[in-house]
């Protein structure tokens, strides 16, 4: 019997092995290098900054903040336009994700939470992935990670 996290038959999930759902809280696996402190998403066995294998996989925070975003209006094969993409800064890594509940680009610095949601339709069903949705700002108990690029 499929667990609650498994997508229905016919659906395919991107990043299933690096996505974690704890009730409504969703996190991603990231890699932390103990030799140089670099952080990686997706996770890796060897640090691609210093080549050390003294690395550890941890779970990200469930929330992040938008660095930049766009509405893609000419879709690549396998996707249906329009869809919203955003770079999210979360737990020291930058992650590209859809924001399926949005119909316009997310403003930089918007707080978002990780979710799991359909991001495209396929011949067999839906393409499901980790994704984000803007926080409404009312019921947050966690302060989002702040981008530190500027």
């Amino acid at each position: 019997m499929p667990s609650p996290q498994s997508p229905p038959a016919g659906d395919r999930q991107v990043g299933a092995d690096i996505t974690h759902q704890h009730g409504t809280r969703t996190t991603l696996t990231i890699t932390v290098c103990h030799a140089c402190s670099a952080r990686w998403f997706p996770p890796r066995e060897v640090c691609s900054t210093c080549a050390s294998d003294d690395v550890e996989n941890i779970e990200s925070e469930p929330q992040g903040v938008v660095y930049a975003s766009t509405v893609v209006r000419v879709a690549p094969p396998g996707f249906q336009a329009p869809f919203v993409l955003a770079y999210i800064d979360i737990s020291g890594v930058r992650v590209l994700a859809h924001s399926p509940s949005s119909d316009q680009a997310l403003t930089p610095d918007t707080p978002v939470r990780l979710t799991v949601a359909p991001i495209a339709r396929t011949a067999e069903g839906q393409l499901v992935s980790y994704a984000v949705e803007p926080l409404d700002g009312r019921d947050d108990t966690t302060t989002p990670t702040t981008g530190e690029t500027r």
């Binding site: 990686w40 930049a68 893609v72 000419v74 770079y87 020291g92 930058r94 680009a105 992935s129 690029t149």
Partner: protein
């Protein structure tokens, strides 16, 4: 290092040419180069061809048609920087003394992919999310506008300038001026970018002759000196990065200026990688020809016009010329050669004596771009 010269340049005009594959396009450019310079096939010590989609042994398939078969030849793939990477390797061969005469070219046919955005063929974590190059540049644009108070009209001003320049370039894919209204009326691609903020996918080829001083003296063609030739790869990481500052361009420029003993203020013209109008702003700043966050003002003030402080993309840039990926870097060097030898006709930048060419590209995750190639050329 020995001095290296460009002593010939040839372009097969860019545009939609679905019936001509990369090898045929490359042949047409190289044949022109051979005729124009009068070199004989046996004089060519080594050949380099740049292409991203041209297939195996492209350089053999091109050069053997003009009698160059037997010497070492190589096909170079570095995404949008393929053609300029081929020129860089040719420069290395001459600078080291290993070669006196090198043909370097870039050739590409993109019509075979049909319409729409160029497919990213290297699957990775971002491409799995539906990433396309316009989306990557759209997000850089959104953040630039957010950080520096620029507007979508500033992006449009780049397209209008470069289309105005390209309207006089017989080698350009688009040879018609556009108005800001044309840009506003064009189809939305990835907010805030519209179709006329994006370069077209084109077919075309360009070739240059690189040679030593002794070899250049035997030719009747004018020559320019290669003062700097640098290739860099992107710095790979998945942490936060400032996407309004193309670090790969800044690092390549620093090395090129050092090699040339020249500074941004010395440049008369720049052919840079305006694959999207936002890219001209980002790269102009990383090249040091505009202050940080102020390139959009420089465009507005006419500082990058053909008769401005420093001409940026006087040939029309990728936005007018089009972007046959692997051919773009080589064609920039051809355009710079004609500028520095006073042969640029209606495109001529008055008194041009120092030129910089810049290409960067490659849609792989975790880097600004996969590869960047830069050349600084001076009138001899």
């Amino acid at each position: 290092m020995k001095p290296v010269y460009v002593a010939g340049a040839a372009v097969h005009p860019f545009g939609k040419q679905p019936g001509l594959n990369a090898a045929e396009l490359g042949y047409r450019a190289v044949r022109q180069l051979v005729e124009q310079t009068g070199i004989t096939p046996d004089a060519v010590d080594v050949g380099y061809g740049g292409s991203s989609y041209g297939g195996s042994l492209l350089t053999q398939r091109v050069l053997q048609r003009v009698g160059v078969s037997g010497p070492p030849v190589y096909t170079v793939e570095n995404a949008c920087a393929s053609g300029a990477s081929a020129v860089h390797l040719g420069w290395q061969a001459v600078a080291s003394g290993a070669a006196d005469c090198v043909i370097a070219f870039g050739a590409e046919n993109l019509s075979s992919f049909g319409g729409g955005t160029l497919p990213l063929t290297t699957n990775d974590i971002e491409i799995e999310q539906g990433m396309v190059m316009p989306a990557a540049y759209a997000m850089r644009a959104q953040r630039y506008l957010h950080d520096f108070g620029a507007t979508a009209d500033d992006l449009t001003a780049v397209s209008v300038k470069n289309r105005r320049n390209g309207a006089q370039n017989p080698r350009a894919h688009f040879q018609r001026e556009i108005s800001p209204q044309d840009v506003a009326d064009s189809r939305a691609i990835a907010d805030p970018l519209r179709l006329l903020h994006c370069c077209p996918n084109s077919d075309g080829a360009a070739a240059v002759l690189l040679c030593s001083e002794d070899f250049a003296r035997q030719l009747d063609t004018p020559r320019v000196r290669v003062r700097g030739s640098v290739v860099r790869s992107g710095t790979f990481h998945t942490q936060f990065r400032d996407m309004t500052w193309p670090d790969i361009t800044a690092r390549t420029a620093k090395a090129a200026y050092e090699m040339a003993g020249l500074a941004p203020a010395d440049l008369d013209l720049v052919e840079l990688h305006d694959a999207f109008s936002i890219a001209e702003l980002l790269h102009a700043e990383a090249l040091g020809i505009a202050e940080r966050g102020k390139a959009h003002q420089a465009v507005r003030n006419g500082e990058f016009d053909r008769d401005g402080r420093v001409a940026v993309s006087p040939s029309g840039g990728l936005i007018s010329r089009g972007h046959p990926v692997g051919a773009t870097g080589a064609t920039q060097i051809c355009e710079a050669y004609w500028q520095l030898t006073g042969q640029a006709g209606p495109l001529q930048v008055p008194g041009a004596s120092v030129a910089l060419t810049h290409v960067t590209g490659g849609g792989i995750f975790g880097v600004d771009n996969g590869a960047c190639a830069m050349h600084i050329l001076t009138a001899d």
